[in-house]
Subunit: 877 residues, 2 copies
């Protein structure tokens, strides 16, 4: 016998989630627990995978097995498909390994046809109910299986209601339902050129196929990508005996949570509707009652239900989200699953379950979605106000949180408006390093161009500021200070709101609520620190960011970018002087101006970090980024510096690059201008000596990081400058100071030659952004042009700039770790790319044995939790 593709609920259990899907496994588990579950069977996820492997065909073998289990179900229930005496009606529902709410389709009342419905009406003694069920089935089947528009059927209903002069569905009687059935079937035949299928087995097979197909629909694909669910998993299909909540006043249907999913409070939370089917609850025509009210309506059912809730929560040891139906006074459980919850309530519930002795600390940690912690650290929209608001467009969810403010179009305007107390949202075609100050005072940032790792996105995440990037639909007119989106014209000063967690843009002021960090947050962080092996550092360039990161638990700085320091007004001038220098002497004069400024910056950061380790990276970006591009600004710069405009234009031209990503930057700058490395070394070493004098107990040991190394000799060249300069300064100062020199591993060749580089480098820090770009051969700024097509065609399921590609990029990292360690067993290994804050990447970093991850301050808590989860998972395996 080959693979078994179908399981009765009675054959499965909760451990079989991969095979039976979440819903199927839990139905089986509840069946095993003796709870009242309508009987049924599950077609496995493997059948789904096979369906796709076979070219979207259900093989004869699987069909035979389904019919076999149908026969078993008929035997157990005593009902029969198409039987006129005791017809079996079933629901057909999808159920993937991971919960994908609303992503896939459901069909109810399957098994009805013109003959069966007559008997069904007799048997239920409710003709209206029977025909209503039938017309609902036709409608759902046509929509889900045959891809006819649900709306067209609604139109037929509306026409009938108009004709009869009634307003509500409930005002339609049995005869009307019969009319609808007739008209629905006629419409079906007109559109599909064939009669509505009357054979229940044919209906069933089509429905199963439709569920399989729905695994591949666009919204499922998007949901999977957002939630990191592999396409290869497939969905199971649950075929279950129908129970009806709409047979009369002793029937009903509802959903409930064992705890409040919004607040975490320990009390039953939910709602129900009497005499209704599930979809009526969703439709919202009648207002449902709260679950407490069930106590008054049907006390015994309520008692039974609360007992079941306790049973399930104790059994699953987690808050449960359940669906139930009451048919003629009898309670049936249709689903249970671990309930989705807000980040805040996740923390509260996890702590409560530990306190109740239900779960261990490790289990509590595994229960919390690390990514969701973003929400407790950033402002969010007021939930009610958000419901009422209508987005006018969507961009990329580049930096989480919610923002509301008045639109400005330049960084200067942002600074100006903010200075007079206005809350502003900065809208730009794209941001550049010169915009930093304006970005810093804005509530949120919206850009037309640029991806998840564009300048705006990276800087905003670092600042913890909400950002929506790359909304290409915006037609911006920066001169007129206005933009168009979704048919609206927004002018300077108008209010807009941004949701950095969804990318939605609102043309109105949606009020926000501040983040509130609870005591549970601290407890969970404490547990995380107890179980994790990876250290968590932060990427921070200013004392302010550093302080924020420490507040969030950072244990050091993994990446301090020195270039951002040069953009502020008081220093960009000296930087430009340096770039425009024509001789070594001129350049040294300019660098001498930068030295005290930079030393002061480092002193500030060392102060803020209070003795924690700080990895400082040498100047990295191409020099042209520091020069103005606007003709007026060029003129102003020329005047200020007393040189010809043409000279500056020539320098800009000579620095132009075809592919700046792969150009004259990183340590290449130091190879051409060793005096830059000299100045930066001086600033770092002098700062460390000064701070160590003030705080001998900190014993600061500078970590100097050389970027963009691809060859050991290149590293050694720059290292020599550092060693000579540092040696001289330390000697002159008479102080004692140790320091470390290491490198970024961000060029494939660095990973490939890591063994040689480790002979000289004391630490590696993986620059996974650039390493991803080079390994894939696409630039993050340009990949937007085609990546959507790659997602749609399932070539890539994830943005490799958000989630590390462990197959390709990861292979290089593993090589570098292995070869690096072989050459220098005590080499320090970390990651400082954007991936450093991504939980799945953190798990990979744990696996390959890095010492730390470094991420933007607001991601530090996520990283702490994710690191703990990785350690716990590894220990369990």
């Amino acid at each position: 016998m080959g693979t078994k593709y179908v399981y009765l609920f009675a054959e499965g259990n909760a451990q079989m989630r991969n095979l039976l899907g979440g819903k199927g496994a839990n139905l089986a588990e509840m069946t095993g627990l003796g709870l009242p579950v309508p009987r049924g069977f599950t077609v496995t996820t493997e059948a789904c995978t096979r369906y796709y492997d076979d070219g979207k065909v259900i093989s004869g073998e699987i069909q035979t097995e389904i019919f076999e289990y149908l026969a078993k179900l008929e035997e157990i229930t005593g009902k029969k498909f198409g039987d006129l005496e005791n017809p079996l009606l079933v629901s057909v529902r999808s159920g993937a390994r991971a919960s994908m709410p609303g992503m896939m389709d459901t069909i109810l009342n399957l098994g009805l046809n013109d003959e069966v419905v007559v008997e069904f009406a007799k048997k239920t003694r409710n003709e209206r109910f029977a025909y209503d069920s039938y017309r609902r089935f036709i409608q759902m089947f046509s929509d889900v299986v045959m891809e006819l528009s649900k709306k067209d059927f609604e139109k037929i209903i509306d026409a009938l209601k108009e004709k009869k002069g009634v307003k509500l569905d409930v005002d339609l009687n049995a005869e009307d339902m019969k009319t609808l059935v007739k008209e629905f079937k006629a419409y079906y035949k007109e559109k599909k050129g064939a009669d509505f299928p009357r054979d229940p087995k044919e209906q069933l097979m089509e429905a199963v196929k439709a569920v399989f197909r729905s695994w591949d629909n666009p919204r499922a694909n998007v949901y999977r990508r957002m939630n990191d669910i592999p396409y290869s998993w497939g969905t199971a299909v649950n075929v279950q005996e129908m129970v009806f909540g709409n047979t009369g006043d002793s029937s009903g249907t509802g959903v409930a949570f064992t705890r409040d999913p919004a607040t975490g409070e320990k009390k039953l939370f939910g709602e129900f509707l009497m005499n209704a089917q599930g979809e009526d609850v969703v439709a919202g025509i009648r207002t449902p009652q709260t679950i407490d009210q069930l106590r008054d309506v049907m006390p015994e059912v309520y008692e039974q239900f609360t007992r079941i809730c306790d049973t399930l929560e104790n059994h699953y040891r987690d808050m449960q989200d359940m669906e139930f139906t009451i048919e003629d006074g009898k309670l049936f459980m249709l689903q249970t699953r671990n309930g989705k919850r807000t980040a805040k309530s996740a923390l509260i519930i996890a702590c409560a379950l530990v306190d109740e002795g239900m779960i261990s600390e490790e289990e509590a940690l595994m229960m919390i979605d690390a990514k969701s912690l973003d929400a407790v650290l950033h402002p969010q929209f007021d939930a009610k106000a958000l419901k009422a608001a209508q987005p006018i467009g969507t961009g990329l969810a580049a930096s989480p949180g919610a923002a509301c403010g008045r639109v400005v179009f330049t960084a200067d305007a942002a600074a100006e408006w903010a200075a007079r107390g206005e809350k502003v949202v900065l809208v730009r075609l794209e941001t550049s390093p010169e915009d930093i100050e304006g970005m810093n005072v804005s509530q949120g940032i919206l850009t037309v161009r640029g991806g998840m790792t564009s300048h705006a996105a990276v800087v905003a995440r670092g600042m913890g500021t909400c950002c929506v990037s790359g909304c290409g639909e915006i037609e911006i007119n920066e001169e007129e200070k206005e933009f168009r989106l979704g048919g609206k014209l927004i002018k300077e000063g108008d209010y807009i709101s941004l949701d950095g967690s969804t990318g939605k843009i609102y043309a109105e002021a949606v009020p926000t609520v501040e983040a509130s960090i609870t005591g549970e947050f601290s407890r969970v962080m404490g547990w995380s620190d107890k179980y994790r092996k990876l250290k968590v550092r932060t990427n921070a360039d200013t004392p302010k960011d550093a302080a924020k990161a420490i507040e969030f638990g950072a244990e050091g700085i993994g990446l301090c970018r020195t270039e951002h320091m040069f953009f502020e007004a008081d220093r960009i001038k000296a930087m430009r002087e340096m770039i425009l220098s024509e001789t070594l002497e001129q350049r040294k004069v300019a660098l001498d101006k930068l030295l005290p400024i930079q030393r002061g910056d480092f002193e500030g950061i060392y102060e803020a970090m209070g003795g924690r380790p700080v990895t400082i990276r040498f100047l990295d970006p191409p020099l042209h980024e520091f020069l103005p591009s606007d003709p007026d600004e060029i003129k102003a710069l020329a005047d200020e510096m007393g040189v010809e405009v043409s000279k500056i234009e020539n320098t800009i031209l000579s620095l132009h690059e075809f592919n700046p990503m792969m150009g004259f930057r990183g340590c290449r700058l130091d190879v051409k201008y060793p005096e830059i490395a000299e100045m930066q070394t001086s600033a770092i070493i002098q700062a460390a000596i000064n701070i160590n004098k003030a705080h001998p107990e900190w014993n600061i040991v500078p970590e100097i990081m050389i970027p963009l190394v691809g060859e050991i000799k290149e590293f050694k060249f720059v290292k020599n400058i550092v060693v000579e300069t540092a040696g001289r300064i330390i000697k002159e100062s008479g102080a004692q100071l140790s320091y470390h020199i290491g490198t970024m591993i961000e060029i494939p060749r660095a990973a490939l030659t890591a063994g040689a580089i480790a002979e000289e480098a004391e630490f590696f820090s993986f620059g996974s952004n650039d390493l991803t770009q080079m390994t894939f051969g696409f630039s993050r700024d340009d990949a937007g042009k085609f990546l959507d097509y790659y997602y749609n065609k399932k070539i890539y399921e994830n943005d490799p700039f958000a989630k590390l590609d462990t197959v390709g990029v990861g292979k290089l990292m593993k090589m570098a770790v292995t070869d690096g360690r072989a050459a220098r067993p005590d080499i320090k290994l970390g990651i400082c790319g954007e991936h450093g804050g991504d939980p799945s990447t953190i798990a990979f970093c744990h696996e390959i044995g890095l010492h730390y991850v470094s991420c933007s301050p607001f991601r530090v808590p996520i990283a702490r939790l994710a690191a703990a989860q990785a350690a716990i998972r590894a220990r369990q395996a």
Copy 2:
């Protein structure tokens, strides 16, 4: 005892070249053969390496050993350093493992000082000679060891001659020489602040150090990079008893070749000067006599010399280049080495030596520098005319050969002028694909921007047209049709000449001579084919190129780029229509226009290749390359296509990329627009079917190559389109046709996941240009900004775009070969990057077991020879 750093000539032999350098090993060998060689010893190359490792210091250990061997030399010669009775004078000469003529420095007459010279004068009974020798020594020592300018000493001589009213050095008498010695020493003291060193041992050690130092001088570094000699080799130092060719009329000095190095003719070739030291021959004050005349001047010496020549040629089994000195009628051999020769004579000599039974075919092949074959395939400057010409500037030697013609500044002008019979040189800021036709009719191409793999360079090499690229010193004014270089203003119509093998630019018409392919060339190619294992294919996009390549022995096309076909006037329009299409339908209409054109192209190529395999690569470059950038052209295009200018501008804007190298190109185009892959598949398959009908004996099996693949699913996606389309067309045609589908390996991730890709791909072709760019993380168009600094600082010794980086890029290639073969043992492996024509890369490709290399047509002979050399070398090892 540690390493032995010094060897007497009597201790060494020719096999010890790595340790003793070429000169030292051959002096030892000649000593061993019993030839008259002045006695001496060699300080090894390892001493040089140690000198650099120790921080440019000669360790005590080595100094002691040198002095030990000095003592031995004193014992053997019976002379003594600083001895007043029988003083030892020595020459100190560099001698690296590979010959680097004129690259390093020599010091003669070392051992003289104020006291020794007196006795030396007595002993030689020639006061003038003695003081002349002394002043020469001071001059050389000051120049080479102390870095005082030689010219300043010449000025002192000139002043004395003026004072005395004489013109020639020979007119100065002994007293004058004494005066010069005094003045030289005074000048030395003035400049160096110390007396000229009088201790011969101190002189010796300083001289040895100077030779070591000269290994690192700028011209040596450039020479090494040009000739692929590793910096790590170091140079040896030869210390040899002086013999004097300038003691009187029975003395002399000369150089000779056993065969004519320019023509290969078997007859003694050389010249000599009586009563002279080596430097006098170089100085060119007196005209030397030809070597034949020595027969009349000193018949016995001549006889002895010709016997020695025969001995040496027979012994070394190669043409020898020798230096000799006659001291008082006695012949001394100062050097022998395998003589440098022109490419043409290399072929002739190799064949002659085989015919004479002196060497085997394999040895003949190993004797020829594969790279030099360029010269026999391209026009060269007339040697005499070239000597008289003075270059006005130098660019990159981008495509070999010589060109002479009148300057034009646009491709259109080139076409126009050429049509009326003018020879033109096209001068451009940089070329673009639109310039192809103009480039094709030009004698040579000169660009201001762009590196060795810029558009101009790559296309010119493909065409076999001389090209000098990236001459950044040119100030070009394309509007005024003129440029400035080296102080000259060149206008349209002026003659210039380019040397594509040196990069030199001349502001005059230097006549060229056509390439002449000799019978020896064919013989050598025949032997190459006999011994090589690698197949040699060509990169060709047109029937013309294909025919040329076959003439040069190509066995197939390894890379047929389809994009170049779209730039010609009749097709660029349809291409642009395709790009500007807004719907699938519009795009298909445009593609339908391109289909027959492209099919015709492929038919032409299949015809030209006569059944040899052809690998056709799908469209690769970013689409914006096909759109005009000039506003007038945009306007014209808009008018022609009947669309708004703004529409075209918008399309251009939307196709703009930050890093086009890493953007929307290669198979990414096919993922977004599968219809492009469909059209190209149709064109290829239909062309093959048509040609197979006409020539059933050819049985063409198309090879379709997908570019820029980084992920197996991406490859599979495009492969599916090809398989479906090809299947349909083959079925419709009723013909039988096999075909292969493979991929470029040019993205690091493709190499890292080659095992998976090989499951689907039937062949791999390494696109080493892009693979190098991505692995190093620098773009070839931008690397020029910093690579020179990397060379100067010895971080890189070679241009990784010219010579494959076997350490990093090679590691990826090896992984891909190993993993690819494991997954598909019969996978076909080749390389089609620019490196495919580089001998050292070819050797690597042989080592890792590729099946073929593919290179531009003019490099095919080089590749055939290099492949044979690799095979022979591997068998020998």
